[in-house]
Amino acid sequence: MESKAMTTIIHQHHEYERVRYFTRGTVVLVVLAAAGAVGYVYRLLFGLEAATNLDNQYAWGLWIAVDVASGVALAAGGFTTAALADIFHKEEYHVFVRPALLTAMLGYTFVVVGLLADLGRYYNVWHPMLPTMWQGNSALFEVGMCVMIYLTVLYIEFLPIVVERFKGQVNLPGILSYANSLVESWLTVAARYLGRFISLFIVAGVVLSCLHQSSLGTLMVIAPNKMHPLWYTNVLPVLFLLSAIAVGFPMVIFESILTNRSLKCKPETGALSSIAVYVPILLGVYLGVKVVDLTIRDAIPYLFDGSAASVSYWIEILAGVVAPILLLSNPRIRRSVTGLFIAAALVVGGVVLNRINVFLVAYQPLYPIRPYFPSFLEIMVTIGLISTLVLIFRWIVMTFPVLTTEECIERVGIMNNRRQPAGRTEPAP
């Protein structure tokens, strides 16, 4: 359907101005990314003690809580959108599938990059793949395996977009141009088989996501005597899964509004408003389980003990869950781009705060020497990784057909990328 739309655009006049890759914003991101890269190399050369504030009491810090745990959670838009649009066939949300897929693909890629900085022996990261080292008792083993497989699935799911970009317009430079028709026929074959089997991968992606999103919560269940009772619960894996599902669409909304704004496209208010309807329901389920769990465990009193942990819990719940439920239950706010953006940002922030709470705030080592606060370099690396992700996201969005509204296609000028639009005029398959 989309390629039909694209085809018609070719014959229209260009009403929209092309967007450039480099803007003041991207330059800032490049600087932050470069600073992060410097920090990353420093960590590799001089070790964790020199680079971080971690010690034997606080063995995990910012990189695990944000780069890894929050990164995985915020990539959940990939599987929730795929489930909604592809499995439940809510076709009106297809417009979000590709951006969400890209977010997930890059998100998980950077989860791995961030994790490598944190691992003492990052060069052994592949060890869990060896059957001789399999360790089925470990929740971390499951998380590791699922993330590795899911990352592969995400790249496979992205392949059709790459094929679509080049199919019919292979134009290799110089002597390689002899291979044009060969590559073209590969792409044709790839397109056919990918189309046929992609559903298998889409379903696999959803299953793998459910597995490791929840197991990420199981991780801290192994430390009962070190976890604050507001967060320590047997149902931590359920809460992690529910919050991942709940943050999926808000992340899509957040990212869609930002992308469109940055590319000077009109926001897709209609689809955004209607996908936002699900958010209060999903957040409500999450909140319900959280409240019931607190009550059953008699942990309610800890909410009112005035400790820093209890304040952090209240912010997590009020700003990250209750406020967006109220906001997005209001149809007027759902129709307003600003309202949608604020509500979505609150959910995203709330889930990040929840992961920080579970992995850092709730974790109370037995013999702390000093409290943990991330070092400047840890923060620098985290910001650098996020900036790099955004830069790559922008480049891919401007190179591959990820955004599918007519306006965006013209704004980023994919169809027109110094290549002949040959082959594009053929009827859609």
Binding site: L44, G47, L48, A50, L54, D55, N56, Q57, A59, W60, D86, I87, F88, H89, E91, V97, R98, L119, G120, R121, Y122, N124, V125, H127, P128, M133, Q135, G136, N137, S138, A139, L140, F141, E142, G144, E157, P160, I161, E164, L194, G195, R196, I198, S199, I202, V203, A204, V206, V207, S215, M220, V221, I222, A223, P224, N225, K226, P237, Y363, Y367
Partner: protein, 294 residues
């Protein structure tokens, strides 16, 4: 006991279930803090046997270390600390800490690659060549014992007491710290017999001991067990229940992965939904067979 059942029957990954300890053959150490002199010879012996930090032996005679609380670290698998007796603050006693070598070690259960292993005879050992350096063992340990070489950028290791594995298992000896102990504060032997010894001592001199053998039942039992003149609440040994720490997470993991049936069921269910809904509304809107990505 769903946890035990699934651990015993094993998952798909059959050989990974936790090593059950061999109750008859399991070794242990009884630490009787009422007999501890606070001489720190155990620290010295440990340092030498394990080739830890290079320090002159006189370093270990310094009694001023008792003024602060120390914990095991990469340079010291064991440390002796001094504690007040609860009801008689002028009296103090000293206590050695090191890896407890749990019967159901959380670190072993947590380890993503099986770098930490439980020997059925007691010792929990570590193989640095497998380790990826995730430090989940430091998070999981209920005693906060394993330490990490954060300062090594190339080949950092997890560091902790290995119960002198080579000496006791391969050479049939006793741990270096026990061998050097000048009093009866440390006794090495069969864990079952040590429990008997402990109860005999408590029965013979009830005024000497608080009636609690720490480690007999804590989190399913530990190889190292403690007697003290007073409640353990004011020592560094945490108050723990009798349930093995990893039992809950293992039953969650094995529940999810029971023969891979739950994930496959979910896969089948989602596939079915995808297929049936496509037939319903697919005819008019989606005439090409491709899904989302095309």
């Amino acid at each position: 006991m769903a946890g035990t059942a699934s651990v015993a029957t094993g998952s798909v990954l059959a050989d990974d279930h936790q090593t059950e300890i061999d109750r008859k053959a399991a070794f242990g150490v009884l630490v009787d803090t009422t007999l501890c002199l606070g001489c720190r010879k155990c620290e010295l012996a440990c340092n030498q046997v394990n080739h830890l930090s290079e320090r002159p032996p006189t370093d270990f005679e310094d009694q001023s270390v008792f003024e602060r609380h120390r914990r095991p670290d990469p340079d010291a698998y064991t440390v002796v600390n001094s504690f007040k007796v609860a009801d008689d603050p002028d009296r103090r006693y000293t206590m050695k800490v090191q890896c407890m070598h749990c019967n159901y070690p959380a670190c072993v259960s947590a380890c993503i690659v099986g770098a930490l292993r439980k020997d059925p005879r007691g010792p929990v050992t570590y193989d640095p060549s497998k380790c990826i350096g995730c430090r989940y063992c430091l998070i999981a340990c209920p005693f906060q014992v394993p330490s990490y070489e954060f300062d090594d950028p190339v080949k950092p290791r997890v560091r902790k007491c290995d119960f002198c594995f080579t000496r006791i298992i391969e050479e049939g000896g006793v741990p270096a710290c026990v061998a050097v102990c000048p009093s009866e504060a440390l006794r090495f032997g069969s864990r079952e017999q040590l429990i008997e010894t402990a109860y005999t001592r408590m029965a013979d001199a009830p005024e000497r001991y608080s009636c609690h053998l720490y480690g007999e039942h804590e989190i399913g039992g530990t190889s190292w067990m403690y007697l003290a003149p007073t409640d353990f609440a004011n020592t560094e040994l945490p108050e723990l229940g009798t349930e093995p720490i990893p039992r809950l997470t293992e039953s969650i993991q094995h529940g999810i992965f029971k023969s891979f049936i739950p994930p496959l069921l979910l896969y089948g269910l989602l596939g079915l939904i995808m297929h049936s809904l496509r037939k319903e509304n697919g005819k008019q809107s989606d005439d090409n067979d491709n899904t989302s990505t095309s």
